[in-house]
Amino acid sequence: MKNIVIAIGRELGSGGKEIAEILAARLGIKFYDKKLLEVAARESGLDTTVFENADERESHSFIGNMFSIHGSLANVLSGGSCMDNDQLFAIQSDAIRDLAQTESCIIVGRCAEYVLREHPNMVSIFITADSAERIKRVMEREKASREEAAEIIAKGDKRRRQYHDYYSTGKWGEARSYDLCINSSHMGIEATAEFLYSYIRQRFQL
């Protein structure tokens, strides 16, 4: 059988990561989120912190490139060869594609559903949850007040959306960008993971 890769996008506090972990365990395959950065770092010879700083952020350092005031148009256009976030994203994407080539795995975030769009056995899933539940989860995890949690969620979602929509052609969290969109609040983490498991089993006739 060919490798199956599952790309999971998620709202902050939706339990997406937990669901991905359970699903990975059920399928007996590996699960990558931040670990991806280590893979990318190893392949490129760069330090992991470089990727951490650029993680799920759109490119900004490119802007700095333009700040050569003397620059004529020609000058401005011939620049842009430094290690900016765009390049880091390209390196990370290569790492994702390599992984998907060598093993079945689950990849959380990092525009994986776009990066792997040509992979024959790619499943793309987006996980949401009710706002109250997301706030509760973030309050517990971050030991934050209700207001703080709401702010963390708003900022995190915004960052993920900007990152996703800058680097991929689909829209973050929009049904047409994914095979499956699901709200984890209705059945809970475990049952949602179980449901996704049976979907994948049926789809690939495991």
């Binding site: 802007i63 700095g64 700040f67 620059g71 004529s72 148009l73 256009l77 994407s93």
Partner: protein, 463 residues
């Protein structure tokens, strides 16, 4: 799927000798920059030698510089935005999206180019007066600009397509295109100006015609259906998402170029209102500025070569190589601007004679060069360090430093100093701003190195 066609990281950046890498990366960039700065100079040189055409024509030409900056600002908005998006898509081998970006880039260039030209032509005299023209210099500026503006869509296309070529993996062809345009301009300009007797208009026609020819060649290159990304039907219709993306990225290069335009306007206006003979002063500034520009461009080419080396090694945690690349680039950059300093301080008359035959103007521009270049050796260091901060991802520091010299310090000085010492105030503002900016740069670099040292020590203690 991913056949690992090409890996994104040139790992030689972490292993090869720093000096060799710098040469490898910097020389093509320096050539491109020199070509680009020559491009800006050719017209000045040829127009300055039209018989019986004196300082007025050169001064008129100088008042069109802000226009060029403004046009470049719009070109950069579309070109940089489009090229950035293009390279992100190509990095994902997403040719489907890339071709639509290419098509939209072409359409946007035409739209922006035409609108800019139309509005500028409509208010041409008013704009030129605003940029510092006088009744005596206006006719020359107008003659030149009418042709340039009619050709503006071509100019935008030429730069836009070149950006697309570079982004789509043809940096060599993009460089040849730049050189081709410069060479053609050098050949055509004297023919049109002197032989055919078209005067200042001939210079403009030569500029546009060489761009037209290069554009034809570029278009042919990009129309090759064997290329994964090529010009084809059905990609030119503007798409909201693409246009929005291009403009979002293109905004900052737009503002930087627009800022350059504003600075020149303030200088021209200052020279006009405080100067004895505003026209001569403006022409002298045009000449001196052109001269400085070459050396600045060479240094910028050098820093472009430094950026990937510093960027990679900083990321790979190799401070020794980062430091080596920085010191080496500062050394070469300072050498270049010191060379410029020597020329501008000791042989300014000779330089001025390349641009004009008018004795008054030669004298005035030689004086201008001496003043403007007073702290020129520092500029090399300042430019390299500014770009260094950018290469290691400290964009805010980089932006701050490049704004100090050219905007934050310069504009207030330009507005205040002349109130006390008249025209000299305009001239002195430039070297003063250079010097203060250099001091600021040294301080920021020193603080940065101290911080790194502390972090280092902290690490060793922790371990």
């Amino acid at each position: 799927m991913s056949n690992n066609i090409e890996k994104k990281v040139p790992t030689e950046l972490g292993t090869e000798k720093v000096g060799k890498l710098l040469m490898l990366y910097a020389i093509p960039a320096i050539i491109a920059q020199t070509a680009a700065s020559l491009y800006n100079m050719i017209d000045s040189v040829f127009i300055g030698h039209i018989p019986d055409v004196g300082a007025e024509a050169i001064s008129g030409l100088a008042t069109t510089f802000p226009f060029m900056n403004l046009s470049a600002a719009f070109g950069a908005m579309v070109g940089v935005g489009g090229a950035t998006q293009l390279s992100v898509r190509l990095g994902q081998r997403d040719y489907e999206s890339a071709k639509n970006i290419l098509g939209n880039l072409v359409t946007l260039n035409i739209v922006v180019g035409v609108i800019f030209a139309a509005i500028s032509l409509l208010f041409l005299d008013e704009i030129l007066f605003f940029f510092g023209a006088s009744n005596a210099t206006l006719p020359f500026a107008r003659d030149f600009m009418i042709v340039i503006l009619i050709g503006n869509p071509v100019t935008h296309m030429y730069f836009g397509i070149n950006a697309a070529l570079r982004a789509s993996g043809h940096p060599k062809q993009a460089m040849y295109a730049t050189i081709l345009t410069v060479v053609m301009n050098i050949i055509l300009a004297p023919v049109f100006i002197y032989l055919l007797g078209w005067g200042i208009k001939g210079a403009a026609i030569a500029t546009i015609l060489s761009q037209c020819i290069t554009l034809a060649w570029q278009t042919k290159l990009l129309s090759n259906p064997d290329e994964l990304l090529h010009l084809q039907r059905g990609i030119y219709k503007l798409k909201k998402d693409i246009v929005k993306g291009i403009l979002a990225i293109g905004m900052s290069p737009f503002f930087i170029n627009a800022a350059a335009c504003i600075v020149v306007i303030i200088i021209n206006k200052g020279l006009r209102s405080y100067g004895e003979d505003g026209d001569i002063s403006i022409a002298a500034y045009g000449i001196a500025n052109r001269m400085q520009f070459i050396f600045v461009m060479v240094v910028l080419g050098l820093t472009q070569g430094m950026q990937p080396i510093v960027g990679y090694n900083y990321g790979a945690k190799r401070p020794d190589r980062v430091k080596r690349a920085l010191t080496l680039t500062i050394f070469w950059g300072t050498l270049v601007t010191t060379f410029g300093f020597v020329i501008c301080e000791f042989f300014p008359e000779t330089v001025a004679m390349a641009f004009t035959t008018e004795p008054v103007l030669i004298e005035q521009s030689a004086w201008a060069m001496r003043v403007m270049s007073a702290f020129m050796p520092l500029i090399g260091f300042q430019l390299v360090t500014t770009n260094f901060f950018q290469s290691i991802g400290m964009v805010n520091k980089s932006i701050f430093l490049s704004l100090t010299r050219q905007v934050l310090l310069l504009i207030p000085l330009l507005l205040i100093l002349p109130l006390f010492i008249g025209e000299k105030g305009v001239w002195y503002s430039m070297p003063i701003s250079d010097a203060i900016a250099a001091v600021l740069t040294i301080v920021m670099l020193a603080i940065q190195f101290k911080e790194w040292k502390r972090e280092d020590v902290g690490h060793t203690i922790q371990n």
